[in-house]
Subunit: 140 residues, 4 copies
């Protein structure tokens, strides 16, 4: 289980890392094990639709139990499968890096983080930094 | 325009006020003038569906330009109207206190805050406290 | 069939009449006989969600072949029926005055106008003025 | 912020330019910074579903902060990403030219224009003309 304090730690770390690395304004969400939002923040200057992208990255990860990189590999191999998955989850998936699974020490998936705003790879990198700063294991 | 720092100030204030007053665990969201999320937090122990309630309270307020109390009065007078409005906005309205308009010094609506978790009146009270702590005017 | 020039005449007339009568900022839409938008305008100062309300008022009218007043009477008598209708049309109905049928000289429904922003009765009044200014018959 | 007068100026200019250039009947929408309609017009002879295309072009642009040309480049490189984005925004995106960002003199995105009816490139061209006629900067 992720506390609100841990979720905020992940988001603050990801946004601070992005600012330090000179990335574009980021948006970040942390979802619980059921795919429901615990915390979200959108940096000043980010486009208004960034909540939806961040949520979709994280939601698809936790609902499928697959990080964004595994989802992208599947989309490259079988685009129609990930398109169907998008419909199955009412549009709330985005099969690119930036949706990252959060695992506890037993290895159980306890939630997911979604980051968007820069390149997908940079989004994933700061999400991993955030998850690790809160003491959890990331699978991007 | 509401900055992320101001949005977080509103949410922290509302959740701290709720804890101080002995309210149940609260969830709070701040939306921009177009109804898009800027920041959200769900206190430990709150039910998983609280994001959706908080969002609906705030979304209905900003899209209609009416606080939760005015929406509730309309629902009491004409339930079928507010039911239709719920359909019009894809279910993202909740006509009770806790959806509060955020106005700047010129009086313009620059966003809305949605709080849920305790009684509707208590939800609205801490939302107002949060908005005022960030230096804005609240219409609940 | 309604031309774009006629649709714009209806909208300009409705908004000008509202301004002259001291009504709140209005939003107005004209739909064709299939319920599809021909023209829309939102006056400065109107809430962002007014497009959706205007569209719903007009869409319900043209799809049901009933003006807003007849829909409201039905909602007063049988709220669950109009609630079901709202679901049937994906939320795009609003059973109050302000959705007005547009009939040509043969009496055929050729579209509908939706106005929102002030009281429902005032919304309907300026919609009727707009439709008549374009040379058609209004059924509110 | 875009006034109704400015939005109508953009639309009138785009449709007039299209007629002058001998393009097919055009439809044009202007959305505010939150993706909500300010004004729309569909030229006589345009197909009934043109509102939805115009809205999708403009909505995707403003929500993502990317013009239609940048979206098309992304779709060419990663079709499954833009397909997922379409699901994320409930179908309201269209990754081709004709969705154009509107920037004010500070460079901030204050809305988007969507034009449809002729080739995507011609749609974008008249949208740019409309936005510039209203004194703003276009990013197509």
């Amino acid at each position: 289980m992720i506390t609100l304090e841990q979720a905020q730690k992940m988001i603050e770390t990801a946004l601070a890392q992005g600012a330090e690395d000179g990335l574009k304004p980021l948006s970040a969400i942390v979802l619980d094990a059921g795919g429901h939002p615990l915390a979200f923040a959108r940096a000043d200057g980010a486009a208004p639709g960034r909540f939806d992208i961040a949520q979709a990255k994280a939601y698809g990860a936790v609902m499928l139990g697959m990080g964004g990189k595994a989802q992208m590999a599947r989309a490259e191999a079988q685009a129609y499968f990930m398109a169907a998955v998008n419909g199955i989850y009412d549009g709330k998936t985005c099969p690119v890096p930036g949706g990252v699974l959060i695992r506890d020490e037993s290895g159980a998936v306890i939630g997911a983080m979604g980051v968007t705003g820069d390149t997908s790879d940079n989004d994933a990198k700061v999400a991993v930094a955030g998850i690790e700063a809160a003491g959890f294991t990331a699978e991007d």
